[in-house]
Amino acid sequence: MAEVEETLKRIQSQNGVQGIIIVNTEGIPIKTTLDNASTVQYAGLIHQLVMKARSTVRDIDPQNDLTFLRVRSKKNEIMIAPDKDYFLIVIQNPSD
């Protein structure tokens, strides 16, 4: 529990981080720093995207696996770090 908190704190302390969500393999959010509605929306949508991306990578090369996914948009950047059981979503507002 404490480790999770510490991770969140470390990430949150970076520049421009708007929100962090930890999601399990089914796409259900476990821990979040955003409000419920946004969390649910992000979790649901990004989960599908990550599944798709992961399957794409593995289809091309079955030995390969997805390690990181970054979605850059006009307003912010969404970073997704997938793992075996969970994945972490970080939304950052790039400062430039």
């Binding site: 480790e3 990430i11 520049n15 930890i22 259900i28 476990i30 970054r70 793992d83 970080v90 790039p94």
Partner: protein, 738 residues
């Protein structure tokens, strides 16, 4: 012979009831039974009379052939005897006599032989319905059948004749209401006997199991149109559980470095930023054909022999709403009477349109020279102007707006048939006594976001209209005026002047009738502390912020004429406060700068940043951030910000040239100088954004010419960073010592 007869009768081999005999031919003739003549084989029977036979016997006695049968004949009951011709000698003789009547019958009428049954072929016949045999079921049916036990009862209701056609109203009546209205035979449990129902008839119907559901879908291609869903969520306990899991800890540990690296990458550099594209805003230009002009191009020039020649144009304004096609823009200029040998006594505000550069479309008549005028922001038909004699003037041009709008290219300008420009008389002018004592140098409408009460407090503007005007003048006062019906401004009866019944021409609208000649300001701001200066300070322009804050500051520019005097920029709050003696007094100014060493003629807030102000004085112009100040020395008469680029502004000079400054490119000199645009001093510059493709700059000068320039695209299309960065490009100006 009897014996013989008997013997013959008993030994005969013939039946007993016949007697074969021989008949002689004589006998045969006698009895007409001649063989093969009377009796034949086919008809062998002959009936003989008994009497004849007896006669014969008597006559011939023993000779008669019948003698043997004499006794039988005598005993014969009947009268006739049968004689049968036995042709075939069946019984031994040629004849035989039938002795008994029964035999006679038998021989004569032989029983018909039974005809043998004809065995025909059996034809297959359709089985005919057998007649129905009642086995008792008809009784059951009769029991169950439903028959009327009595005749149907018929009730006929009719009304009295006089009530025919009258509407009738039926209503319900509960029989339980009235006591004896009905008789009831209620069923009750009779204890005397009880019948147990052993068998009961009940009907059954087999119904298929049915399940119905519905979905919203198209007809041809059936798929769900809408799906409603809610997200799955974990309960709090589950979340707690998961958070405790070892796998989550491992996950966090493994994932953190990646994420941190990515985040830091972001912070270091923006990899998606296209440097090339952002390099020049000129790259946005689509006009590579080469016709890109870098500088201001003269678009139109307006002048009028009658009205504007040799006159100093003090102020110019674009009509805020009438625009449309390029040729259709309306501008207004105001003329002040400067030249001595003019033929006209009155001065005017002229309306020009692009489509007709040499004729003004409308003239607004002023009681005196106008230094400044402004369109009302909420109603462009109202124009307020400040006169040289200190009066404030109001016009209402709503009657002529259609005419102004009607001057479109392609349409025949039929309105101007009499070739006379319509003159609009002013609707209202302020009371002479309460106006300024010096020429009004600037007039501004309060923005629609707030308004000011009698005490000077800004309050929220309920109606979102601009109804208040501020004027300033070198008589050291700033006055606030309200154009609405003066219910707020209540004065004592003595102060109020009677409204004189003036003979206004019919064409003057009554919009401001309530104000005409009696218009008094809401309140005035007196700069009492300036008493050590000469009273002939000139106050120039005012500017207001558009902020809705509780205490609003205005920037007033003071400047003093003649040599050795400093123009000052005063930043003050106009609220009226109470000083020690209890009199209403205006507040002391907050800041006071004197950097312009001569007259200050421009104060303008940047349209982009609320706290950046451009002031231009005779020797220099300065850009202010409220509180911070930057100057550069240039000789200029007037300046204005560009409407679309925060770092661009235009400066007009004494010698008739226009400078274009772009702070992003150069900070110590203008990027463009258009020298000698006109021969005279430039008195007013106003930019206008007519459309996204065209921006204009109107420039007026001292000799009555109005020039409209088209601003090139490079000067009005802002670069991406310009609007965002904002005043960050100003600070590095501050560092330069002046």
């Amino acid at each position: 012979s009897i014996l013989l007869l008997n013997w013959e009768l008993s030994n005969q081999d013939h039946p007993e009831d016949i007697f074969p005999m021989v008949l002689t031919s004589a006998t045969q003739e006698l009895f007409d039974c001649q063989a093969d003549e009377d009796v034949t084989g086919e008809s062998p029977y002959k009936l003989l009379e008994k009497d004849d036979i007896i006669q014969d016997i008597k006559t011939r006695a023993a000779v008669s052939d019948f003698s043997p049968v004499k006794q039988i004949v005598l005993d014969y009951p009947e009268d006739e005897l049968l004689l049968v011709y036995d042709r075939d000698f069946t019984y031994g003789q040629s004849f035989y006599l039938v002795l008994t009547p029964e035999a006679k019958d038998r021989i004569l009428n032989p029983p018909k032989p039974e005809t043998p049954e004809v065995f025909e072929k059996e034809v297959v016949k359709t089985p005919e319905p057998k007649p129905w045999i009642s086995l008792g079921s008809d009784k059951e049916i009769d029991e169950e059948a439903f028959k009327e036990s009595r005749e149907k009862l018929l009730y006929k209701f009719s009304r009295v004749r006089r009530k025919f056609g009258v509407p009738v109203c039926f209503s319900d009546r509960n029989t339980a209401d009235a006591k004896d209205d009905y008789l009831e035979c209620a069923s009750y449990q009779d204890s005397r006997f009880s019948i147990k129902q052993m068998q009961r008839d009940c009907g059954m119907q087999a119904v298929p199991r049915l399940q119905s559901s519905s979905a919203q879908t198209q007809w041809k291609f059936q798929k769900n149109i809408f799906t409603q869903y809610t997200p799955r969520e974990l309960s709090v306990e589950e979340k707690e559980n998961i958070l405790q899991l070892e796998s989550l800890k491992n996950f966090c540990n493994s994932v953190t470095p990646r994420v941190l690296q990515a985040l830091q990458q972001e912070g270091i550099m923006n990899v998606f930023f296209d440097d090339w594209k952002a390099l020049g805003t000129a790259a946005d230009d689509g006009d590579w054909a080469g016709k890109v002009s870098e500088g201001l191009m003269l678009y139109q020039a307006f002048t009028d022999q009658k009205y504007t020649k040799d006159k100093k144009i003090c102020s110019i304004n674009w009509h805020p709403t009438i625009y449309g096609k390029v040729q259709h823009l309306i501008i207004k200029i105001s003329i002040s009477l400067k030249s001595n040998n003019s033929l006209l006594k009155a001065s005017f505000i002229l309306f020009y349109t692009f489509s007709d550069p040499s004729n003004p479309q409308l003239l607004l008549e002023c009681p005196d020279d106008i230094f400044a005028f402004e369109f009302c922001p909420s109603d462009p038909n109202i124009i307020v102007g400040g006169c040289i004699n200190g009066q404030v003037v109001l016009w209402d041009i709503s009657a002529h707006v259609t005419r102004l709008q009607g001057t479109q290219p392609g349409k025949k300008v039929s309105v101007n048939t009499d070739n006379k420009t319509p003159i609009v008389h002013y609707c209202a002018v302020s009371a002479l006594e309460s106006s300024h004592k010096a020429p009004i140098t600037d007039v501004q409408w309060l923005p629609t976001t707030f308004e000011v009460t009698r005490m000077g407090l800004p309050v929220e503007n309920m109606y979102n209209i601009s109804a208040q005007v501020v004027t300033c003048s070198p008589d050291c006062t700033i006055m606030f005026w309200d154009v609405r019906v003066s219910s707020l401004v209540s004065h004592s009866a003595s102060e109020r002047r009677p409204i004189m019944d003036q003979k206004t021409p019919y064409s003057v609208p009554d919009t401001f009738k309530h104000l005409d000649r009696t218009w008094k300001p809401l309140f005035r701001v007196l700069q009492g502390f300036r008493v050590q200066y000469k009273m002939s300070t000139e106050m120039f322009y005012l500017q207001f912020p558009n902020l809705k804050i509780s205490s609003i500051h205005i920037v007033i520019v003071y400047s003093k004429p003649n040599s050795c005097c400093d123009g000052e920029i005063i930043y003050t709050d106009w609220k009226l406060g109470k000083d020690d003696s209890g009199r209403l007094q205006s507040a002391k100014p907050l800041h006071c700068f004197s950097i312009h060493h001569w007259l200050v003629n421009t104060v303008q807030r940047s349209p982009f940043f609320k706290d950046i102000i451009l002031t231009a004085g005779s020797w220099n112009f300065a850009i202010w951030k409220e509180g911070v100040m930057v100057t550069t020395p240039q000789v200029c008469t007037v300046g204005c910000w560009s409407l679309s680029r925060p770092a661009v502004f235009f400066i007009g000079k004494e010698d008739g040239s226009i400078e274009v400054w772009n702070l992003l490119e150069k900070t110590n000199e203008p990027v463009q100088i258009h020298s000698h645009v006109t021969n005279a001093k430039i008195t007013c510059i106003k930019p206008w954004a007519a459309s996204s493709k065209q921006h204009f700059l109107a420039v007026t000068d001292d000799i009555g010419m109005v020039r409209v320039f088209e601003i090139p695209k490079t000067l009005y299309v802002p670069s991406r960073s310009e609007v965002r960065q904002g005043p960050s490009h100003f600070p590095y100006l501050i560092a330069r010592p002046r």
